[in-house]
C-alpha cells in the first residue's frame, strides 16, 4: 500500500494509515459488531433462561396452570387464572382512564391551546409524572388514594351495590386504587407517544381543514385524530403493555388476593405483583411455578409491545415519514 509514495511531492505529509491504525480500525469494528450481537443474545438468553426454568412447572401443570385460580405453596398447587384476570382487568381500567387523559393532554399540548409558558408548565408536569418512581406512587396510593376513595366507594356500594362493579366495600387496598395509579403512571407514555403521532400530521393537512372553514375542534376531531389514529392507537397499546408489566405500585395497592371478581373495590392480584410478593420467600417448587408465571407475563407483554411498535411504524410510514 506504499505505492503512491514515490509520486508525492518532496514535502508531502500524507501517508497510509499505520499498522496500528488498521489494527484499531479492525478491532473497533469487531467489538461494536459483537456488542450489537450481544443485544440479540441477551433477549434470547432472557427468553431461554426463564423458559428453561419454567419447564418443570410447565411439565407438572400444563395449561391447567392458566385455568386454575389456586395458589397454595403448602399443597404445591399453583394456578394463575386469578392473576391473569386481575392483570387484564386493572390494566384495561387503567388504560381507559389513562388513555383518555393522555390523549386529551396530547391534543392540548400540540394544538396551540396554550401560551408558550403554560405549555412548558404542563409539559413539565407530564414529564415529572413519568419521573416519579413506581414505589413512591405505591406509597402515595396507600396514604392518599385509598383514604380518599374509601368513603366514595362505600357510598357507591351502599346505594348501587346491586351493580356487580360496586358489589363490595373498599376496606383498604383494591382494584380501583391500583387501576387509578396505573392510569397516572401510563399517562405520560400515552401523552408522549400520541404527541409524536399528532406532530407527524403534516401542517398542510391541518391547513386544508382550516381552509375549508372548520373550527379548531372540527379540524382536530375530523381531520387530525383520524389521520393520527394509528399512531394514537399504538400509543394506547404501548401504554397497555406498560400497565400489564407495572409492578410495585400495583403490588402495594391491589391487595394480593387470589380471587376473580368484577367488583372495583375488592382486592385482587396481578402477575407482576404475584412475582414481586412471592419470589423473595419462595421454596424450590414455588419458584418453578413463579418462573412459569414470569414466562406468561413476558410473552404477553412482548406481544403487546411488538403490536404497539408495529402500529406506530405504520402511521409514520403511511404519512411518508422516514423512521428507522
Amino acid at each position: 500500500m506504499k505505492r503512491f509514495e514515490q509520486f508525492s511531492a518532496s514535502d508531502a505529509i500524507s501517508g497510509p494509515p499505520s499498522k496500528a491504525d488498521y489494527w484499531v480500525d479492525r478491532s473497533f469494528r469487531t467489538v461494536t459488531h459483537l456488542c450489537a450481537w450481544l443485544i440479540l443474545a441477551i433477549v434470547i438468553a432472557l427468553l431461554w433462561q426463564i423458559g428453561e426454568k419454567a419447564i418443570p412447572a410447565i411439565r407438572d401443570y400444563h395449561l391447567g396452570f392458566l385455568t386454575s385460580a389456586v395458589w397454595d405453596a403448602n399443597k404445591d398447587q399453583f394456578g394463575i387464572l386469578a392473576e391473569i384476570w386481575g392483570t387484564l382487568y386493572s390494566s384495561i381500567l387503567g388504560l381507559i382512564i389513562g388513555g383518555f387523559f393522555g390523549v386529551v393532554m396530547a391534543i392540548f399540548l400540540t394544538q396551540d391551546f396554550l401560551p408558550p409558558l403554560l405549555a412548558a408548565f404542563f409539559r413539565t408536569i407530564v414529564e415529572l409524572l413519568a419521573a416519579i418512581p413506581s414505589v413512591v406512587y405505591g406509597l402515595w396510593g396507600i396514604f392518599v388514594v385509598v383514604p380518599v376513595l374509601r368513603p366514595v366507594a362505600n357510598w357507591l356500594n351502599e346505594t348501587l351495590g346491586w351493580i356487580p362493579l360496586f358489589s363490595t366495600t373498599l376496606s383498604g387496598p383494591g382494584l380501583l386504587p391500583a387501576a387509578l395509579v396505573l392510569a397516572i403512571m401510563i399517562l405520560p407514555t400515552i401523552a408522549a407517544v400520541s404527541q409524536d403521532a399528532l406532530r407527524l400530521v403534516p401542517y398542510r393537512t391541518k391547513e386544508a381543514a382550516y381552509g375549508l372553514g372548520t373550527t379548531r375542534w372540527e379540524a382536530i376531531l375530523r381531520v387530525l385524530l383520524p389521520t393520527a389514529s394509528a399512531g394514537i392507537f399504538g400509543a394506547l397499546v404501548l401504554g397497555f403493555g406498560r400497565a400489564l408489566g407495572e409492578t410495585m405500585a400495583v403490588a402495594m395497592l391491589i391487595g394480593n388476593s387470589n380471587q376473580i371478581t368484577l367488583s372495583l373495590f375488592s382486592p385482587a392480584n396481578t402477575l407482576a405483583a404475584l412475582l414481586a410478593l412471592n419470589f423473595p420467600e419462595a421454596g424450590k417448587v414455588e419458584v418453578r411455578a413463579l418462573m412459569y408465571a414470569a414466562l406468561v407475563l413476558l410473552l404477553i407483554t412482548l406481544l403487546v409491545n411488538m403490536l404497539g411498535t408495529a402500529l406506530m411504524h405504520r402511521t409514520s410510514k403511511a404519512l411518508g415519514v422516514k423512521t428507522r
Binding site: F28, R29, C35, I132, S134
Partner: protein, 303 residues
C-alpha cells in the same frame, strides 16, 4: 326584470354572510365547551403530581435530617434510625448497572448508527432494543435471579446491578443511536475526505459531536434505574447493614436500596417506619430529579 329576484336573493344571503363570530351558534358553543373540557382534563391530570409532591415535601421533609441520611434502618419497635446504607446501596447498584450497560450500549449504538446501520444484525438488534424498552422491570429481576442469584447462591449487589443494567440498556442504545445519527453527513464526509478510516471518523468526529446527546440518554437511564424497585426485590433483597464496613466491601451479600426500603417500610404498622419511608421517598425523588435535570441541561447545551 330577471335580475331583481337575484339581487334580493343575494341581499338575503348577505345577512347570512355576517362574518362576525356568533357566540350562540352551536358550533362555536361546542368548540368552547370542548376547550373548557380540555382545560379541565389538563388540570385534573396535574392534581396527582401536585398531591405527590405535596406529600413528599410535607411528610418526607418533616423527617429529613442528617440523622436519617447517615444511620442504619431501625428495627420494628425502635425509634429514630435512618437509611444511610440504602442510599449507598442504591448508588452502588446503579453504578454497577451503568458500568455494564453504558459502554456496552454505546458501542452497540455506534454499530447501529455508523458501522453497519443497514445490516441484518443491526435491524435485529434495534428491534430487540425496542422490545426491551417495554420489558416489565420485574422480569429483569427474574432474569438476574436466574443467572446470578441461583448460580452464586446469594442475593448480592452485582445481581441487583445486573438487573438494572438490563433496564438501562435499551434507553442507552436507542438514544445514543439517535444522537449519533444526528451528526451531519457533511462533517463525516470531511473526515472521510481527509483519509480517515471509519473508526477514526467515529472516534475523532462522530462520537465527540454526539457526546451531549449520548450523555442525555445515559442520564435518563440512570434516573430511571435509581427509582426501580421490582428488579431489586429478589436480586439484592435488603440489608440492615452497611455495604462497606471496616474498609471492606461486602458486595456478595444482600444489599439495601432506597426503593426496597420504601416498599418494606410502607407496609409496617409503625409510625416511625412510615415516616422514614416518606423521607426516603423524598430523597429518592430528588435523586431521580437530579439525574433528570442533568440530562436536560446536557441536552440543551447541544450545538
Amino acid at each position: 326584470m330577471t335580475t331583481r329576484p337575484d339581487l334580493l336573493e343575494s341581499m338575503k344571503g348577505a345577512k347570512r354572510f355576517d362574518l362576525k363570530r356568533s357566540f350562540w351558534e352551536p358550533r362555536s358553543l361546542r368548540s368552547l365547551l370542548l376547550s373548557i373540557g380540555a382545560w379541565i382534563v389538563a388540570l385534573i391530570a396535574s392534581v396527582p403530581l401536585i398531591s405527590v409532591l405535596y406529600m413528599l415535601i410535607v411528610r418526607g421533609g418533616r423527617r429529613l435530617n442528617w440523622e436519617v441520611l447517615t444511620e442504619l434502618p431501625p428495627a420494628g419497635f425502635e425509634e429514630g434510625g435512618g437509611f444511610g446504607n440504602a442510599i449507598v446501596g442504591t448508588l452502588v447498584m446503579v453504578g454497577i448497572g451503568g458500568l455494564i450497560s453504558i459502554p456496552f450500549g454505546i458501542l452497540a449504538a455506534i454499530f447501529l448508527a455508523e458501522l453497519g446501520p443497514d445490516s441484518q444484525i443491526a435491524n435485529a438488534a434495534r428491534f430487540c432494543a425496542k422490545t426491551l424498552t417495554g420489558l416489565p422491570s420485574i422480569i429483569a429481576g427474574v432474569f438476574a435471579y436466574a443467572i446470578l442469584v441461583l448460580v452464586t447462591g446469594t442475593y448480592s449487589a452485582p445481581a441487583g446491578g445486573m438487573a438494572l443494567a438490563l433496564l438501562m440498556l435499551p434507553t442507552v442504545v436507542l438514544t445514543a443511536e439517535e444522537a449519533l445519527k444526528m451528526v451531519p453527513q457533511n462533517m463525516k464526509n470531511a473526515a472521510f475526505g481527509m483519509g480517515c478510516t471509519h473508526s477514526q471518523v467515529v472516534s475523532k468526529i462522530v462520537f465527540p459531536t454526539a457526546l451531549p446527546g449520548i450523555l442525555t440518554g445515559v442520564m435518563l437511564a440512570v434516573a430511571r434505574a435509581s427509582g426501580e424497585t421490582a428488579p431489586l426485590l429478589f436480586t439484592a433483597l435488603f440489608s440492615n447493614f452497611w455495604l462497606f464496613e471496616n474498609g471492606r466491601a461486602e458486595l456478595m451479600a444482600p444489599t439495601a436500596s432506597l426503593s426496597v426500603l420504601i416498599f418494606n417500610f410502607s407496609g409496617m404498622p409503625y409510625e416511625n417506619q412510615i415516616e422514614l419511608a416518606w423521607a426516603a421517598s423524598l430523597v429518592l425523588v430528588l435523586l431521580v430529579l437530579v439525574f433528570n435535570s442533568l440530562s436536560r441541561i446536557i441536552g440543551r447545551s447541544r450545538i
